[in-house]
Amino acid sequence: MHLLIIIATLIITLVFMFLTYLLFRNYFYSIIFPLNTATRIFFISALFGSGMSLYLFSESGISLLNHYYETNHLGLGIGVFLVGVFICFCFNIVIFRTTILINKISIFENEHAELAKGNLLIAGIQSITFLIFIFLLSGPLIQLILNLIQ
C-alpha cells in the first residue's frame, strides 16, 4: 500500500512541475523566443524555486498521507494533499508576480525589455529575489496549510 503513496506523490509532483513549466514557459516566450541566457537563468530559477516549495510542503504532506493511510482514509488523504499542492501552486504564482513587481519598483526599468536584451543583472536579481521569497515564506505557508487542514 506504501507503493500507492509513492505512485500518488510521483504523479502529483509530475503534474505540478509540468503545469508550472507550462505557465512559466508562456510568460518567458512572451518576452523572447528562443530564450536567451538571461531569460533561461530566470526560467530555471523559477522552476527550481517552485520545486523547492513543493518539496518543503511534501515533507509534511507525506506524513499526512501516511496518517490517512493508517486510518483507512487514503482517498481523503490524497484529496487533502492535492489541496495543499494547489495552494503551493497558487503561492508560487503570487511570489513570481510579486518578484516582478518588486523589481519594477526598485530598478525603474522595463524588465521585459531588459530580459529580452539579455541583461544578466536583471535576471540575477529577479532569480535571487524569487528564491529568497520562496524560502522565506514556504515555512509559514506550510503552517497555514496544516492549520487549515486541521
Binding site: 510579486t98 526598485s106 543583472l121 535571487i128 529568497i132 521569497f133 515564506l137 509559514p140 503552517q143 497555514l144
Partner: protein
C-alpha cells in the same frame, strides 16, 4: 488568522528589506566603480544572496516571536519584535558586506576596488563566496542570539 498575518507581515517586510538593501548596495558599488562590469554584477548578486540567507535564517525566529506574542494577546509586541529582528538582520547584512571587503583584501593582498574596476572576476567570485559562506555560518548563530530576546516562560524542569 495568525499564520496569514505572519505571511503578510513577512512579505511586506521582506519587500522593504530587499528593495532597501539592493538600493544601498547599488549606490555603494556605483561609488567605487566607474562602470558596471561582470565582476561588479557577480559581487552585487552575491551580496543580495547573502542578505537573503540571513533573512531566511532569522525569519524562523521572527515567526516564533510573532506567534508567541500573538497568542499572548500582545499584537503590538508581535509586530514590534518582527520589525526589530528585521532591522537587526538588515544592519548585520550591511555590516557583513562592508567587513567582507576587509577580509578579502587580507586574503588577496590586493586593492580590491582597483581589481573590481579592472573587471577581475576571480576576486569578485572569491568575495561573493566568502560573503555567502559567512551568511550560512553566522545565520544560525544570529538566530539563536535573536531568540534570547524573546521572553519565553521558563520550564519547571
Amino acid at each position: 488568522m495568525k499564520e496569514f498575518l505572519n505571511i503578510l507581515l513577512l512579505l511586506i517586510l521582506g519587500i522593504v528589506y530587499i528593495v532597501s538593501f539592493t538600493k544601498v548596495i547599488s549606490s555603494f558599488l556605483n561609488k567605487i566603480v566607474q562602470q558596471r562590469n561582470n565582476a561588479i554584477i557577480a559581487l552585487y548578486l552575491a551580496a543580495i544572496g547573502s542578505a537573503g540567507v540571513i533573512l531566511i535564517d532569522i525569519s524562523k525566529i521572527i515567526t516564533d516571536a510573532f506567534i508567541f506574542f500573538y497568542e499572548a494577546g500582545n499584537i503590538g509586541k508581535s509586530i514590534g519584535f518582527t520589525a526589530f529582528f528585521f532591522i537587526g538582520a538588515w544592519v548585520y547584512s550591511l555590516a557583513q558586506f562592508h567587513l567582507s571587503f576587509f577580509l578579502v583584501s587580507l586574503l588577496s593582498k590586493e586593492n580590491e576596488k582597483i581589481q573590481l574596476n579592472n573587471n577581475n572576476i576571480e576576486i569578485a567570485l572569491v568575495h561573493g563566496i566568502v560573503l555567502i559562506i559567512l551568511s550560512f555560518l553566522v545565520g544560525p548563530a544570529l538566530s539563536t542570539f535573536a531568540s534570547s530576546f524573546i521572553p519565553y516562560p521558563e520550564l519547571p524542569f
